[in-house]
């Protein structure tokens, strides 16, 4: 006699297994996002996790799949539906389904016997209707393999930041010679002397801290600093808005001063009431204390001749400030890297961040790198009110460099200062190093008087930060950057 009950139990078990596999697949699919997301965050340095933790995270989707398979309560399967599926698969003319129907309604003896006789007379490989096997596991295993592969690729592939650092460091030979000296791991680094004071002064350095050896590490160190990392993103957005505002304001002041200068040249006399009002309104938005002071003294000036001088001075100051807030023009880039010497690809890396103060104050380039030895030190204190300081403030060698003439005139004109240090890049041997003019970095000497490293010039740094209206929340990041690339102060 055909045993329907036994078949039903077996089918039910099989159906549960199938359902479990299906749910395990869903759970796996849902939870697979977690390790992948974590791996991506880890790769982008948004998360700092140890390898055992990362491995544990990888196991999460598998555990979720196991949980879904074994522990999640499964509703009872619809037997009529399952039986019809088996009927369809086996071609049993819906006899199993009908037999179940007869059993449920408790009758149909004649038909029941006929159906059972039919079913008894033939083999019944009912598992064909509910296949659980390799075909069910292949998608699951494929998904797992893809997960592990993707996880390994994401975890071990070079990060985009590393690529960026590599592309920046892989400069062409000419640009490499001219680049700002980086920190060489081969160089011995003496522990910086301890200093205290304002945040812009050199803070105490930990001698035991190993120097970062690539740009990626430098960036990750800055980003991971709680005080600055989070604020940097917001600060950057605020900064660009602030710069735009300041550029518009500078342009308005420049136009107004130009009109005043033109009128005074033709008519002479004092400022009109409308000019005073317009100037007063614009002064309220000025962030540079030097410009503010210049404009205020302009408003107070009553002597017509002195007034013309004041206007000219304020106009020059406004233009100089406006230039500090702009990216270098193509002409400036060309001046630094003449097209005859470099290819187009090299020019892509030829941006030099800040111009020298002379370049900023005299757009025609007059006096760039041409100061005499005596001028710098004598006039430095007198020019401290200038937003960027004087070249002598920024250039640790003062005017003596120009006099000594160690760099070629072209290099000096391009904004680089030769140093006494030599850099080693790979197996290519030693290269002469140059400092970009205007950066608050200077060669430092050891107790024995040898120049073997770079240090931050905090006075120059402070002058730049204040002069360029850099938001306070970003100043610390800038300071950290220069400290990181130089290993601190003198």
């Amino acid at each position: 006699m055909f045993d329907l009950s036994r078949l039903l139990r077996a089918i039910e078990r099989r159906a549960r297994r199938l359902r479990g596999l299906r749910r395990a697949g869903i759970a796996f699919g849902v939870f697979v996002v977690v390790p992948l997301g974590i791996a991506v965050c880890y790769r982008l340095n948004l998360l700092s996790l140890s390898w055992p933790v990362l491995g544990g995270v990888l196991a999460l989707p598998f555990l979720a799949a196991l949980f879904a398979y074994f522990l999640v309560r499964r509703p009872k399967a619809s037997l009529p539906r399952l039986l019809l599926r088996v009927d369809q698969a086996l071609g049993t003319s819906e006899r199993l389904s009908s037999l179940y129907e007869l059993r449920q309604r408790g009758g149909g003896g004649v038909f029941r016997r006929r159906i059972e006789k039919h079913l008894q007379d033939r083999p019944l490989p009912w598992k064909k209707g509910l296949p659980v096997g390799l075909t069910n596991l292949i998608p699951f295993a494929t998904g797992a393999l893809i997960l592990v592969g993707a996880y390994l690729v994401v975890a071990f592939a070079p990060s985009p930041l590393a690529d960026l650092a590599e592309s920046l460091s892989a400069e062409p030979p000419v640009a490499a010679e001219k680049r700002t000296a980086g920190f060489s791991p081969e160089q011995s680094v003496p522990a910086p002397p301890e200093q205290s004071g304002s945040p812009l002064e050199s803070p105490p350095q930990e001698a035991a801290t190993p120097p970062p050896d690539n740009f990626e590490d430098v960036l990750s160190e800055i980003w991971s600093t709680p005080a600055t990392g989070g604020a940097l993103v917001q600060g950057g957005e605020d900064l660009s808005g602030l710069i735009e505002e300041q550029q518009a304001l500078s342009q308005a002041i420049e136009e107004l001063l130009s009109r005043i200068q033109e009128r005074l040249g033709q008519e002479g006399g004092a400022l009109t009431e409308a000019e005073r009002r317009a100037l007063s309104e614009l002064i309220s938005g000025v962030t540079s204390p030097q410009l503010r002071q210049a404009l205020e003294s302009l408003l107070e000036e009553t002597d017509p001749e002195a007034l013309e001088d004041e206007v000219e001075q304020a106009l020059g100051l406004t233009r100089a400030l406006a230039r500090t807030e702009e990216a270098p023009t193509p002409e400036e880039i060309e001046k630094i890297h003449p097209p005859a010497e470099e290819s187009e690809g090299e020019q892509a890396f030829a941006w030099t961040p800040p111009e020298t103060p002379e370049e900023m104050s005299t757009p025609d380039g007059e006096g760039t790198g041409q100061r005499s030895a005596g001028e710098g030190t004598d006039e430095a204190s007198a020019d401290q009110d200038q937003p960027w300081g004087r070249e002598e403030d920024l250039d640790p060698h003062g005017g003596t460099r120009g006099a000594e003439g160690q760099g070629t005139p072209q290099e000096e004109q391009a904004g680089f200062i030769p140093t006494d240090l030599a850099a080693t890049i790979g197996s290519a041997g030693a290269f002469e190093e140059f400092l970009t003019k205007g950066v608050p970095v200077e060669p430092s000497t050891t107790e024995a008087g040898e120049v073997d490293r770079y240090a931050v010039n905090y006075e120059t740094l402070r002058a730049i930060l204040e002069g360029r209206s850099i938001p306070p929340e970003a100043r610390e990041v800038v300071r950290q950057y220069f400290e990181t690339i130089t290993q601190g102060g003198p």
Partner: protein, 327 residues
């Protein structure tokens, strides 16, 4: 409770009946099968085909093989309802006059409504009660019809002038609709031979009684059908409704009204009868497939667009069958 003997007897009865009919009617196996299914399901059958294909002969053969009362009503435009169901007439009994009911031709076991679409809708409607309730109401009196009762109506699809298409309500009361087609060459030769040699065509002797038919009907209703197949039938019927989520794109575009719940009943009952005739102990999907078209083809009403574009209901049903999944 159905016994093994009941089942065997019923199946034997219909095997004899089928053989008797096939002894007279050449070909038309599907039509014969539809006729037997309608008889087994206590339904009525609409036969459609051009004249001369043996529709009337089939009905007469069936009646003869059953040994039951047979009446033929030739529907014409001037036919009145009373001509079908009967009327009260004045009779005189012992000097006393009184109205006496005179039953019409509908009082038979097998009624042939020949060219039913030639009568007016009013006359056609006279059959409604008889077909569904198996009763006839004249005046204030209601008269039951004798079981087994079956109406087999024929209609000619080509001579449409002066005809009255059957109202939807009446069409829906036919369990199945069978289309009688032209015989093939061999069948035609056989028909010619049977009618032109010897004594000509002879109707069969009765091979089944009314009681045996009723018993077979009881057996058929007990044939099991799986719950999931019943749901499948429901989905099939709903798939003919343009507003249903089960409907196919063509149904949505070309159908005005889908099949009624009577279609689902007809489909399941017809499938049971088909399984019974096939000697099976349960309804199979194949049984449903066999009766799907005749059970639904007259119940799906095309919209104007469908009519204008010459869409065939048969094609729509074929698509519905193909698109509707069993599980």
């Amino acid at each position: 409770m159905i016994t093994e003997k009941d089942l065997e007897t019923a199946q034997a009865t219909f095997e004899r009946l089928q053989r008797a009919i096939e002894g007279v009617i050449v070909g038309h196996e599907a039509v014969i099968e539809a006729t037997l299914i309608a008889l087994l399901c206590r339904g009525n059958l609409l036969l459609e085909g051009v004249p001369g294909l043996g529709k009337t002969l089939l009905v007469r053969t069936l009646a003869s093989a059953l040994g039951l009362r047979f009446s033929r009503i030739q529907f014409t435009p001037d036919l009145m309802p009373a001509d079908i169901v009967g009327t009260d007439i004045i009779t005189e009994d012992g000097g006393k006059r009184q109205f006496t009911y005179s039953p019409g031709p509908v009082f038979a076991n097998v009624v042939l409504a020949d060219e039913v679409n030639r009568a007016t809708p009013k006359t056609q409607s006279a059959l409604l009660e008889a077909m569904e309730e198996r009763t006839v109401t004249v005046g204030k009196a209601t008269y039951p019809l004798e079981e087994p009762f079956i109406v087999l109506a024929t209609q000619n699809p080509i001579e449409m002038e002066g005809t009255y298409p059957l109202p939807e309500a009446q069409v829906d009361r036919f369990l199945l609709k069978a289309t009688v087609g032209y015989p093939c060459l061999d069948e035609l030769v056989d028909i010619a031979k049977r009618n032109t040699e010897g004594d000509g065509l002879r109707l069969p002797e009765p091979v089944a009684s009314g009681e045996e038919i009723l018993q077979a009907r009881r057996v058929v209703r007990e044939v099991p059908i799986a719950e999931e197949l019943r749901r499948y039938v429901g989905r099939l019927v709903l798939a003919t409704h343009p507003g249903s989520p089960h409907a196919t794109p063509k149904v949505k575009e070309f159908v005005e009204y889908g099949a009624s719940p009577r279609a689902a009943i007809a489909l399941i009952l017809g499938a049971k009868a088909h399984a019974f005739l096939a000697g099976e102990g349960n309804v199979r999907r194949a049984d449903l497939e066999a009766v799907f078209h005749p059970a639904l083809v007259h119940r799906v009403i095309l919209n104007f667009k469908g009519e204008a574009e010459g869409i065939e209901v048969s094609d729509l049903l074929a698509e519905v069958w193909k698109e509707t999944a069993v599980v």
